[in-house]
Symmetry: C2
Subunit: 149 residues, 2 copies
């Protein structure tokens, strides 16, 4: 398995763990020089924190690991298009690349809606790649919400 597939697989594994914990299944990892330095899943319910999105937690953990407020040179792999809060956090952390799996027409903030990186106020924009692992990420979300109905 090449790195390209395995980093999104690591994010998807976090998403599956989120579903098992009763959280909306989204997972994320931060990669630096080919190594996963932080991984996280949605924990909003567990932590009673509406900001405890996978991306937000992974970014914070990566900053802790590196002892730096800046993640320049690092990549974020996440199973769902980030919302505006997480897109803003990606900019604040100066992540170099964003890879996301499924699009989020409902709450996405990158390729739709506020398009957080597409304004002069975006002092930072990562390179963006989408669609890797999209089918599995979307199926996880669909199954999760179907089971709750």
């Amino acid at each position: 398995m090449d790195g390209f597939t395995s980093f999104m697989d690591a994010a998807l594994a976090e998403a599956r763990a989120a579903a098992l914990a009763g959280e909306v299944p989204v997972g994320a990892v931060v990669v630096r020089e080919g190594v996963v330095i932080a991984r996280a899943r949605n924990r909003m319910r567990e932590l009673v924190d509406p900001t405890a999105h996978a991306e937000m937690l992974a970014i914070r953990e990566a900053c802790r690991v590196l002892g730096s407020e800046r993640l320049t040179g690092c990549d974020l792999w996440v199973s769902l298009e980030p919302c505006p809060a997480c897109a803003g956090a990606i900019a604040a952390a100066r992540l170099s690349r964003l890879y996301y799996a499924a699009s989020d027409p409902k709450s996405g903030g990158v390729a739709q809606g506020p398009r957080v990186f597409d304004h002069p106020q975006a002092h930072w924009a990562p390179e963006i790649y989408s669609g890797i692992g999209e089918a599995e990420a979307a199926a996880l979300l669909k199954d999760f919400f179907a089971a709750r109905r």
Copy 2:
């Protein structure tokens, strides 16, 4: 002093404390039924966390205090226009009202740039009031950056 002024004063007091700690001077409080239930200042440097904005920390603290992921019925008072990350957090937390002092043409995400609440993807938008305490909030920021040059 009426409540209207004193809640922004509480946010400005947090902003002044941030400046003393060497952080960009922004402060925020969350108010529920006329009572301040959480207060915070920027702590990005102290916590080595690019997401440790005043609003983000105040929202998290308010959720802890109430034991709820939702802050419906609560107000956020903040000395600067929220960035996209904090605007997203405000939506995620379902805050009912947002009061901010100074506009942020450089990084703001509410009245300019991504205008996070002005899209179909914004599943929640608070009532928004701006300009209260603007002069003091702007002066704090200006003095802070002038002293660092």
